[in-house]
């Protein structure tokens, strides 16, 4: 299909389809969105491994309409970026939206939710009343900390979780 497919080779697209929950059309659309973030520095064609080298700084990513109102956007980008700084390569970008997509199952969302919220729910960063309430409800072994098992136990029973942990792109 001409220009659009010059962005990736066929095998790259197949790999992406195997590793994410997206179809080919969605992957190309996401690449277009990624390029729009910083079109000066991102080449049109990603066939030679640029996908894991070129990074877009966080300041551009947080201006995306999907993320700009999200209060956890910094933490989300830090979790998905390779070096934890928030600057994301296309691989990380794709990974992020794959986890947030509708087809992703609950367990993988729970893992990433724990990584994202785990940093946020810290007694210093959060109001102490809120923190104690959370511990009271979810802390099962009374160690004043929330482990992944406890978090997963709470989250898997929340009826809202799949709906709210979802970004449409």
């Amino acid at each position: 299909m001409g220009n659009k497919q010059a962005a990736f080779t066929e095998s790259q697209l197949e790999q992406y389809q195997d590793c994410t929950f997206f179809t080919r059309k969605e992957i190309l659309r996401i690449f277009r969105r990624y390029r729009d973030l910083d079109s000066d520095h991102i080449p049109k064609s990603y066939t030679r491994g640029e996908a894991s080298r070129i990074k877009v700084p966080f300041e551009y990513i947080e201006k995306m309409p999907e993320l700009k109102e999200n209060p956890f956007r910094r933490r989300i980008c830090e979790v998905f970026s390779e070096d934890g700084s928030g600057n994301m390569t296309f691989d990380d970008f794709l990974d992020m939206f794959s986890v947030f997509s509708e087809q992703a199952p609950q367990d993988i969302k729970a893992v990433y939710a724990f990584k994202i919220y785990g940093e946020t729910v810290h007694p210093i960063k959060v109001n102490c009343c809120v923190f104690h309430q959370i511990l009271e409800e979810a802390d099962l072994d009374d160690d004043s900390q929330l482990s992944y098992m406890e978090f997963e136990h709470v989250i898997s029973r929340a009826p809202d979780f799949l709906n709210t942990f979802h970004i449409r792109i």
Partner: protein, 834 residues
């Protein structure tokens, strides 16, 4: 490749352990593969740098069996790779390795296997291409996304529901078109050839007036739109297409298909929500972790959402404070927080009543019509007989009268449904325009010269009422289902209607509505709307079913004319087209001797499944209470033991054992002012000698037979670090209660700046589950030697804490039994995780 050799090794070991490994179930194999993945690549998502993994080796001596198993494993890995929480690089590498192995070893297999693999590969590719192709057909994605970002996922759910209904209607209309309408149009008799297909003489001059067209009369009445047009000839055209049979089957098939689709969607939804019993165990956590709707992309909506979440959190905190003080009010407030679908049910019942009234009125009219027609007919016949003695003329006259006079009640029903649908659309458009658009215009422009703030106060901008609109959609769909049998083109009309509704509503919502002030969640009602839709489908099916079974079809129009009942077409077809024995079998099957046992069997099956569900719910409940028990009572018991041992040192273990399995028994040591008594949550203020009276009587205790544990009685004590006992349940959350371990007393001298830890002796570096640590900080003043109870299998460790401490320290002293053992002290190790 060590990995592959490792693969081979694994397989051999497995063979050794489980001789019948091929018999392992698919699920067990999948688990094995995932375990293997985790073991090889670990849970961390960082790519390892050693490239030894990529060196190829040959697995020549592996038998074909083992290669097959490996291949299966690789395929399993490939299909589950996207579910692993790894970075893209790691996933791609793992994928590439698996694919290399497959490409190398698949070719080595026997020819038959090779062909099988090739076909599977092609099939997978075809499936993927189909999926990619199908994704082109999802309409309105951008539109829904925009609405989501403005209004959140609740309002967007209406549009997603509309889109889903649109698909159902498309399928229904395609089926109807291809099996009923098109054959009739192509192969059936054209307009005007038969009296039933022609506009009768008296009506011809009015046939093109607006009033008639509005009523769907005239030419529209005698067209493929309605039941009356379809021919009743058994075989149509050259190919012998059986139209009446097709009509009947399509009618039934539409209902069956709709049922199947709705049930499948409901099953998907329930699977996702894990059938939580709806109990508000974790309301606070859910508000914190799931409160933010990630789809929101507009400032105003975000602000509203913030306000809502904060209010919600505040309310929850106030609620919990009130819980501590006034247990009685908790239930009341809890009730208010729950989602009340009662109002929705009222609207639903009203709508249904509406539709049913229409059906009853229609049936009355039909009956009247039939009676009137018959009466008139008889009158005319008698007049004709009396006036015209010629036989053949009489027959002609009678047939002419028959063709003209008798009306087609099914067509009338179809017309009514059509009219209803069209008027409903018009009404929706008009009401939306008036109540949202004009109101918005008025508020916007009159605000400049009005005394009070129109935008903020009354009347303000409209809010999108999700519930009313979804119910309107359900009502609309019910109408379609009711009328589809009498008017085959009704689903097609509905498709057009839904398209128009989608564009109109999305324009209206963006233009005239504001995001909700109260941001509420819709997920609880996910299945609720589908249940309503299911009920609507069932109730819409009833009139059609009744008509098919009990009412005689019109004699002069439609595909079933001349038959006694509509479903007679089935028995006719069976008699004509199937072998003789089939008819006999079918007639046996419809006798009471077969039907009644079948019904009894179904009733028993329902009863059995119901009791299974009940049993599972109870088991779930038991487990949940066990969890609560662990949280509160279990700790209390352990603490009692350690506290009680201040007095008698001789039998802590005995007391521990006797107290373990006795939930209903009272603790051995009720507690006196000088010794702490039973403490819920296992906490005691350090140095406290007296306790608030409520701690002495904790109230009703749970036992595992189902008596509900009164949650308001569990005291929510602020956590205060404990000095005097070590928690033996470290690292063992979510396991069934074990017999509490034996304890031994260890003397130690607390020193400032140190931390006490209980470390399992068997394995220092035991992989812990997440971040669990049991420790306590020594107070500054205590430097008298005290003792503490340490559970069996653990040793006490006093860790010197650095100034920049975050749990890591550099020095450790260890205490063994009652001695302060010099030889083992001052072991410098980094602190181990528990």
């Amino acid at each position: 490749m060590p990995v592959l050799y490792g693969l081979g090794m694994n397989v051999r070991t497995l063979d050794h352990k489980y001789p019948g490994q091929e018999a392992m179930s698919a699920r067990a194999c999948r688990r094995e593969n995932l375990e293997y993945l985790r073991r090889k690549f670990g849970n961390d998502d960082n790519v390892r740098d050693d490239d030894d993994f990529l060196m190829p080796t040959d697995d020549e001596d592996a038998t074909e069996e083992q290669i097959l198993i490996n291949i299966e494993r690789q395929k399993e890995i490939i299909s589950s790779i996207r579910k692993q929480p790894w970075r893209m690089k790691k996933k791609i590498r793992c994928l590439r390795m698996a694919q290399d192995y497959l490409s190398r070893y698949e070719g080595k297999l026997s020819k038959k296997r090779g062909y099988q693999e090739a076909t599977e590969r092609i099939w997978r590719k075809v499936k993927r291409e189909l999926a990619n192709f199908a994704s082109f057909f999802i309409p309105w994605e951008t539109r829904i996304k925009m609405i989501e970002s403005y209004f959140g996922s609740v309002v967007a759910s209406y549009f997603i529901f509309l889109r889903w209904l649109f698909w159902i209607n498309i399928v229904l209309s395609i089926v109807t078109m291809s099996f009923v309408v098109l054959p009739e149009m192509i192969v059936g008799l054209p307009y005007g050839s038969v009296p039933r297909k022609t506009v009768p003489e008296p009506e011809l001059d009015r046939a093109q007036h607006i009033a008639t067209v509005w009523d769907f009369g005239g030419y529209l009445k005698h067209s493929v739109l309605f039941y009356g047009y379809y021919s009743d000839r058994r075989y149509l055209g050259k190919g012998g297409y059986q139209l009446p049979l097709a009509y009947f089957m399509v009618g039934i098939g539409s209902f069956v298909y709709s049922f199947a689709v709705i049930l499948r969607k409901m099953a998907d939804n329930s699977r996702q929500s894990k059938l939580s019993t709806g109990e508000d165990q974790f309301t606070f956590c859910w508000k914190v972790f799931c409160g933010w709707d990630s789809l929101i992309g507009q400032q105003e909506t975000a602000d509203n959402k913030f306000a809502a979440i904060t209010t919600g959190l505040r309310v929850s905190m106030v609620v919990s404070i009130i819980t501590m003080v006034f247990p009685v009010f908790f239930d009341l407030i809890g009730q208010m927080e729950k989602y009340h679908p009662r109002t929705m049910l009222r609207i639903m019942v009203l709508n249904l009543g509406n539709l049913y009234t229409l059906m009853i009125a229609l049936f009355k009219k039909v009956n009247n019509l039939q009676n009137v027609t018959v009466a008139e007919h008889i009158q005319d016949v008698i007049t004709d007989i009396l006036s015209n003695k010629n036989q053949t003329d009489l027959v002609d006259v009678l047939t002419a009268r028959a063709g003209v006079k008798e009306q087609c009640w099914e067509t009338i029903v179809g017309q009514e449904m059509f009219k209803l649908s069209v008027f409903d659309m018009i009404a929706t458009v008009v009401t939306t325009l008036i109540f949202d658009f004009l109101r918005g215009l008025f508020v916007r422009f009159a605000n400049y010269c009005w005394c009070w703030d129109l935008e903020g106060g009354i009347p303000g901008y409209g809010e999108f009422g999700v519930a009313e609109n979804v119910l309107h959609l359900i009502y609309n769909q019910g109408m379609i289902w009711m009328g589809a049998f009498f008017s085959p083109c009704l689903p097609l009309l509905n498709v057009l209607k839904l398209i128009a509704l989608m564009y109109f509503r999305s324009w209206a919502v963006i233009m005239c509505n504001t995001p909700h002030q109260r941001v509420f969640r819709a997920s609880r009602s996910n299945n609720f709307y589908f249940v309503l839709l299911l009920i609507m489908l069932f109730l819409s099916m009833l009139p059609t079913g009744y008509v098919m079974v009990s009412i005689e079809p019109s004699r002069n129009c439609g595909p079933f004319s001349g038959r006694r009942r509509m479903f007679d077409i089935i028995s006719e077809t069976v008699k004509n087209s199937f072998p003789g024995w089939f008819t006999i079998v079918l007639s046996y099957m419809s006798t009471a001797g077969v039907i009644i046992p079948v019904i009894m069997l179904l009733v028993m099956a329902i009863y059995y499944l119901q009791s299974m569900v009940h049993a599972y719910k109870e088991a779930n409940n038991d487990l949940r209470m066990q969890l609560e028990y662990e949280r509160t009572e279990g700790k209390r018991k352990v603490f009692e033991m350690s506290a009680g041992n201040k007095n008698n040192q001789d039998s802590p273990a005995a007391r521990a054992v006797t107290n373990s399995g006795n939930p209903a028994g009272k603790p051995a040591n009720p507690g006196t002012p000088s010794h702490p008594g039973p403490i819920p949550n296992g906490r005691v203020p350090s140095g406290a000698s007296t306790l608030p009276p409520r701690f002495h009587n904790p109230g009703p205790r749970p036992n595992f037979t189902g008596i509900p544990f009164n949650r308001s009685m569990s005291s929510k004590v602020r956590y205060i670090p404990v000095r005097n006992y070590m928690n033996p349940y470290d690292g063992m959350i979510l396991t069934p209660p074990i017999a509490p371990p034996r304890f031994r007393r260890v003397q130690y001298t607390p020193q400032p700046g140190t931390r006490l830890m209980a470390v399992p002796t068997a394995n220092r570096a035991m992989p812990g589950v997440g971040s669990i640590r049991r420790s306590s900080t020594c107070s500054r003043q205590g430097s008298r030697p005290t003792s503490v109870l340490v559970p069996e299998g653990y040793e006490l460790v006093q860790v010197h804490v650095d100034a920049t401490d975050d749990g890591q320290s550099s020095q450790e002293t260890s205490f063994v039994d009652d001695d302060f053992d010099d030889t083992r002290s001052n072991r410098s190790q980094s602190a181990s995780r528990l």
